[in-house]
Amino acid sequence: MFFAQPWMLLGLTALVIPIIIHLLNRRRYEIIDWGAMQFLQISKVTRRRLFLEELLLMLLRMGLIGLLVLALAGFFTSFDWLARLQPRPNRDVVLIFDGSSSMNYTGGGKTPQDAAKEWAADFVHDLTPGDAVAVFQARQQVVPVLAEPSRDLIRLVPQAVHDIVRPGGGCDLPAAVQSANAVLGKSERSERDIIVLTDGQRFGWSDPAAMQRWEQLARQLGAGKPHGASGPPPRLWVVNVDPHRDPDPPNWSLPPLRVNRPVVPVGREVTFHTDLTIHGQNAYTPPYSLSLEVDGELVRRLEPPRASALAKGKIPLTFTHRFVNEGSHLVSLVLEPDAPGAVSRDTVPDDNRQDFAVEVTPTLPVLIVDGDADPAPKRRGAWSLRDALAPQGDATPAVKARVVSIKDFDATLLTGGMDAERPRVLILCNAAALSKPQDEAVEQFLADGGGVLTTLGGRVDKDEYNRQLFREGHGWLPAKLVSIEGDENRPTDAARPAAVSATHPALELFRNDPLGGLSDARFSRWWKTDVSAKDAAGERVATLKSPTADYSFLVERRYKSGRVLLCAVALDSSWGTNLTDLPAFVPLAHELVYYLAGARSAEFNLQPGQPIRYRLTSNAPPDGFRLQPPFGEEKPLGISQPSPGVIPARVTSPPRPTLVCDETRETGVYRLKTPDSRVAYYVVQSDPRESDLTASTDEERDRVAKVLPMQYQNDRDTILAARNPGEQRQEWWWVLLLGLVGLLCGEVWMTRRMLKAR
């Protein structure tokens, strides 16, 4: 026997109140000299009756106080046999469906997704009236299928379970558990369950990233107590709907495509990279087919790699393509591991296709701002860059370069004119400093998704750069300028670009550096920048090696929607460098420019939940836009009011009117149709790690359960029968209150009876 509020038992001292009142009444009596004493003599029976009535009334009043105190103290018992007699209290349940593509595993008959739906339907069927169920799908973002717990177990909840869409991409189960916790935190019920229906895959559950997420969630739940201050936290159940799956089943997959130039010139060859990823198999035999599709049309069948050995389960795959038309295009690579009718080597077909959206442009507008105030154009240092990007005499240059003096540089050069003529890349060549309007124009340009290449030379005013452009890491300049290093008179101490790590897309071309390549460049002088400082916002992506030390060659920073590259040299012939004479100079200039122009192209290949952004050409209301998601029908975008059959969207104005749609939870291809019937492709890419179907080991599962208390339980009846330890106890306050009412009635009856007898 226990009490929820033991301190209330102090109220039991009030039990003496009726006794004290009785005694006080007896002490505070009147004295009357009386003659008719013999009539006060009553019989023993009457005297006993009166005494018993007095005693009973006093006991009743003491009982009233006692019951009230016990009820307020929250008297309860914890008898198991009583708990078994009690009906199961109603509960609130959140069902979380693993929405990753591994739930489409086909190696075990029905898919885990179908098994999860079946399990959930049976579970809902077995719930008692009054129970409430919410349904979530854990994709790379949490999809609330039935956001609030519903008691409609006949229609609404089964319909929500039935309506869960086909899994795809990765999943964030900790986020789903967190959302479920938040939902149940609003519940007043003590019985609350979160049931995760998953397939036991290691990735997304017990891989290092997921463990980090679990730990983060455990900290949040421990600190914030989102499950409510009262009552125990919700029970967390993990149901493996595919418990008999092979621990490492065979699976072929394609990781996302990579391209060296996100912005592709018309008619130029573009190289795409990916891998054939093979799980659960030790030997490689070429797949049945590999197909390249552009804009949904088969272009050609690719020759499968002939490698004989698997390196970490991957076979590199490269292919090229030339786009003949400008605009948005969709490149798709489709893998068929097995011939029709052959023994399946692939158990998850969803990851056998990769899509990639590219922007094909006829020419790339580039604005070169020369810091040289010399009026003679030929002597301008920026001329070499201009020649490299758009050689005179080239009738169809890939880059349309325009050179202006620093004095003539203003915001209209970046924002004026037609959209196609607006520069995508700005190159600041060895400018001494920028005025404040010029600096603001650059910031605006970056916010609009532009790319900026800043080259440093002898004219650069270090203090102005650090004060105005770097601003202790708050400006757009990637690194703080320290000093000019090197000596033109000591060519032996010249610095040269270090071997490129090739991880950076802009320098991938120089990975296998041929003779006359970038590594042959010599720089007798260069700027030293500080990327290790605490306030440094940029990252070194290329290195200059001098005989004494390493320096940053290129420092990159993402600023707002744009990209900035800071080059430690002027990229011209000043300071006696041989770079402009090397064959690598022209490719380097092109690679840097196309890389910077690709800042905006990242908007076409998205992560789940990352919004679709489409730049509008005018401020007019964007009517007539339609969007076709990966699954489902094409629907119009609704700007003003959300309504059925319309996909919600919005318009953001600065720096340029942009149509934004946040409905990108599904992985796959989104086709945005403009009013003039053009199509813009957007690809929400899936997580390639999802293709690894390796199951979590018991040890890994236990590790997760230690981080966040949970129970691995596949038996539905066990989950249904579970109760919180706190619910094993029987609350008696209501019985006590009933008794209190009964005693009160008894007291009133007895008092009235005694009054009547007077």
Binding site: R26, E30, I32, D33, G35, A36, Q38, F39, Q41
Partner: protein
């Protein structure tokens, strides 16, 4: 006890023409308003009747003869004297003082009023005060100076002591040789059986007995609400702490039974029983009683 007897003779003036009529005619020799069964030639003219042979000539109304030329004999109602004995209970229980004064005071008023009235009508009045024993006894006399003696005796009496009515009444019944009117003023807080025998003793001696049962309203209604310690007025140290509200029903049952028994006993003994509440004015109570007596005449 007030210093002077609160007896207002004027309050009785209105009853001067009322007659205290005994239920049965008692013979006496003092002329009063009491009707004698014998018509004679005393003081008060009753009627004329025709003269018959043998009547004494001195009884002929010559004035009537002069007017009517016929002989009429004047007949008179012969008034008798009444010996009244006032027995006033001065036991401790009579000392109970409710809102309207003590029962003993009330008895004093009644006794004084009756004495005055009776002496005014030339009846002889005697007084006996007692508790368990006779404190003072004044033989009945009819002279006007006797009133002062009676009143002085009443005034000097202090109530106290235990009640012992029945033996004392037996004793007095033996002492009152000549039949008369015995007026008892008491609360009669004693067992009814012995009282009945004592009353019957009076009746055996052919006394007319009036019993004024004097009670305080509080004794009848028992209106007390708070816890109360009742201290016995007669026996020192006898006290009882009770919740009056709880006890009221039983008390009233006991008390009512006692009153009924006493009333019945009086009926059996042919004793005039009259309950006198101390909240009733004395003169009113006497008036009601005398009026009632007159109607029964």
């Amino acid at each position: 006890m007030p210093s002077t007897l609160q007896f207002d003779p004027t309050s009785l003036a209105k009853y001067g023409r009322l007659a205290l009529v005994a239920r049965n005619a008692v013979e006496g020799f003092l002329t009063g308003v009491h009707k004698s069964p014998y018509k004679g030639f005393s003081v008060e003219f009753a009627e004329h009747r025709q003269y018959y042979h043998g009547d004494e000539i001195r009884h002929i109304d010559w004035r009537a003869f002069g007017k009517t030329d016929r002989y009429y004999i004047k007949e008179y109602e012969e008034e008798t004297n009444l010996k009244a004995h006032l027995l006033v209970d001065a036991s401790g229980s009579m000392k109970y003082q409710g809102k309207h004064g003590s029962k003993f005071h009330y008895a004093q008023y009644i006794a004084a009023s009756l004495s005055y009235l009776m002496l005014h009508q030339r009846d002889a009045v005697g007084l006996a005060t007692h508790d368990t024993k006779i404190r003072q006894i004044i033989p009945p006399k009819a002279n006007s100076k006797h009133l002062l003696r009676v009143l002085n005796a009443l005034q000097e009496t202090e109530p106290g002591g235990e009640t012992g009515l029945a033996p004392l009444w037996h004793q007095l019944a033996g002492q009152f040789k000549r039949r008369g009117l015995v007026v008892i003023l008491s609360d009669c807080f004693e067992e009814v059986g012995p009282l009945l025998r004592a009353l019957r003793h009076f009746r055996f001696r052919r006394h007319e007995v009036l019993l004024f049962h004097i009670l305080a309203p509080e004794e009848i209604d028992f209106p007390f609400k708070k816890w109360t310690q009742f201290r016995d007025l007669e026996i020192s140290g006898n006290k009882m702490l009770v919740d009056p509200q709880r006890l009221r029903r039983d008390y009233q049952q006991n008390f009512q039974k006692f009153c009924n028994d006493l009333r019945n006993a009086c009926g059996q003994a042919q004793v005039d029983y009259h309950l006198m509440r101390t909240d009733e004015p004395v003169d009113k109570a006497l008036g009601i009683y005398l009026t009632k007596r007159q109607r029964r005449r």
